[in-house]
Structures are given as structure tokens and as C-alpha cells.
Symmetry: C2
Subunit: 239 residues, 2 copies
Amino acid sequence: MIPKNHPRYKSLMVRESLAAAARSGLVSLEGLAAHGRGEAFDYLIGERTTASAAEAERLASRLILSAVRPVFSVNGNCAALAAEEIAVFQKRTGVAVEVNLFHRTEERMQQVADHLAAHGVEVLMGECERLVPLAHDRGLCLPEGIGSADLILVALEDGDRCEALRKMGRVVIAIDLNPLSRTARLATLPIIDELTRALPAITEACGTEMAGDLHTLAASIDNQKFLADALREMRERLA
Amino acid sequence: MIPKNHPRYKSLMVRESLAAAARSGLVSLEGLAAHGRGEAFDYLIGERTTASAAEAERLASRLILSAVRPVFSVNGNCAALAAEEIAVFQKRTGVAVEVNLFHRTEERMQQVADHLAAHGVEVLMGECERLVPLAHDRGLCLPEGIGSADLILVALEDGDRCEALRKMGRVVIAIDLNPLSRTARLATLPIIDELTRALPAITEACGTEMAGDLHTLAASIDNQKFLADALREMRERLA
């Protein structure tokens, strides 16, 4: 039991809920450790959406509205932290949702899909093929999902897949708290914010932003600016 | 399987070994998340012992040599990461080792003690009493251990116990990668370094440093300096 007067009560409670998800197998044990890494970076941006991240979230909504086949690639941590937010986001944008796991087993693939479905998410299922050139099983995806998407939203993601997707010419939006990560550095648009704050912000902006030409819009984005903004916020916090 | 050419191979392998320790119950699931938090801060100091941390490690050895009843308070993460280093450190310094857990059950207390013993650590065991004024079970300790120690070494520790121990007039050395944590801010001497680098450095310095009067030495330590040094390193890394 964590005493309620503990100064890090909220952060410890989220951690406990992810630990419970790990007990059930939804979240991998390595995913739990990765969550802790994210906690530290969130702490450094003040556990709030910065003005720069809010701007990135509005841009993300424009990209998503402009895409023909946008796909949200969801892993175990994502599903455990934000299944409800993903359902609302999908209802608003019609984005396809595909499960992609670092620690992949068929059982966990089904478990994550079931957890999402139980929260109202429509999950793309089918026969996976290795359409992303990676030695790792994260290279497996659905031909009608990530395989043919023009835009892929990734969150809490490892860097090499982001790199491979970019090399394939895809537009990648990455929600990632670490501005030094390869995912954030290589994404078309990095959103340096916590997932359950970022998703509702993107969903809301979809109500006011306008669609355009996806690749023209993508080419106009200065991802370095968003990284530099986040690094500056963190330096100030460490001052 | 993590591919060997993965750029974060080493960090991911340590994470996998802690995940294995979590499967066996040695490390708590929340401890795994806390490890990830530490990973982020280690990344920000460049995953190396800084000159400032090396100075703190030499000072730590002087404090330990000067103490009459030094006790190392070990938790699950500590034991899983550094049982061998703890054994070598204990042989050199004669420090008493006591198990103290955030997620305490009698079974886990025994499991952590057994793991340490299997690596050659002599573990203090006995009847615990609530001698540290905390609502939490971490207030439980041994009268002949932490209960009567003049110096307590803590690592990968939550802040409120450090605060309580300091209020009791004890000298506290904290090995903690987060210079903003309460543990680091409230310790007599914070060592902003990773545990398996810090312990061998302290052990080695015990061969050359001289003992003195514990409380005079403790009073001469400027803990703010070590925190400021670490924060500066991290800001540089984020520049």
C-alpha cells in the first residue's frame, strides 16, 4: 500500500496500474522498465503539455486529417495506459488501429487486441507479413494496415522501426517523451508529451484543423524545432 | 530476442535481467519501473562515473571508515543488480547488510536475503521493530542494524525514509541517479552514479582513504555541490 500522503502518489499509482497490467501479461516486464524511463523524461518537462508540444499536437491532427490511410500502431504499454483515449481518437478520426509488439507472441497479440476491443477500439486483425525490413518481429505487419499506410502514428516505441518506416517514405508521427531518442529524432513529427495528454489533444484539434496535401505538409515540418524546444524545457527544469 | 546490433543492446540486456529477477519475485514489478527511471538519468550523465561522483565516492569511503556501526540497507533492485559488488564491498569494509523493502512480504525478505547470501553476502537477520517513524513498512528495521547504526548507506531508495533517518540524526549516504529526488537532496552525501559503478569505486577508495571523526566529516560535506555538479552534467548532455 502506498500512503496517500506520499508526494509521488499519482505517479506511483500509474506505475502500480501498469504493474497490474504486467501481472496479467498485457504489458511486458521490459515494457514496465521502459515506462519508468518515460516517467523520468515526463518529470523533466514538468508533467504537463508544453506550448511546443501543443503546437505539435495541432500539426499531428492536420497530418492525420490529410492522410488517406492513417494507421495507429499500438503496443502493450500504449493499450494499458490509453485504451479509452485510443477509442475516442479512433471514433473522431477513423484511424485504423494495428497491434505491433516488441515482445511478440500470438497470445499477447490477441490479449492486447482484446483489451483494446473491450474499450471500444476497432482493431485491424489478419495475416501478418514482414513488410518492414527489420530482423526483429516488429517488422511483421498487416498488408492492409501498416503495410500500405501513408501515415503511421507510433507511441512509446523503439527507434529502429521508426527509422525503417521513414526509409520506406512513410510519414511518421511519434509520441515519445525522450527528445534524444532515435524515434523522436527520426520521426516526421515528434510529439514530446505523455500519451494520455497527447491523444486527447490531437483528438480535440481534429475538430478545428484543416486537411491539406499530406506530403507537402510533412515536408514543411521542422522536427528539430520540437526537439530543441523540449530539450530547452528540460534544461530549465534542471537549472 | 534483442538483436546484438541494437544500439541500446547493453541497456536492454540489463533490463531483461531485471525482468527475469521480477519473474522470480526478487525484484518487484514497481521496482522494474523504478529501474527504468534510473536508466533515463544515467543516460543523462553519459552512463559513466563523473569526476564529481568519483569525489563523492572517495568521501563515502571516508565516512564508512569513520563510522562505528555502518549499515548498508539493501532492497530488491539493489540485490538483483549488485549482489557480487555488495559482497566484495562488505568483505573490505565490514559493513552490516540489512534488507529493507518497499514492497515487503516475509517471503520476499527471505528471497532477497537468500539471493545475497548465495553471492557471499552476510545478511543481518532477526526480529524487526518500527524504529524509523514512517507509516510505511520501510519503518521496520533491526534494533542491532539500522536501528542503532550511525551511518546508513541507501541505494535506489524512496525519499521519505532518507528524510526520516536524517531527522533521527543519522549520517546517510545515498546512491541515486536522480539529483532532483528527495533522497539525493536530503542525504548527507548524495552519490549521483549507477550502483554497479559506484560500489566498486567506494570499495577501492577504502584501501587508500583515512578514517576521521564521523560527524565532523559529515558536517563538512556540501551535498548541494554534488547535486549542482550532476545537474550541470545533465544540462550539458541536453544542450
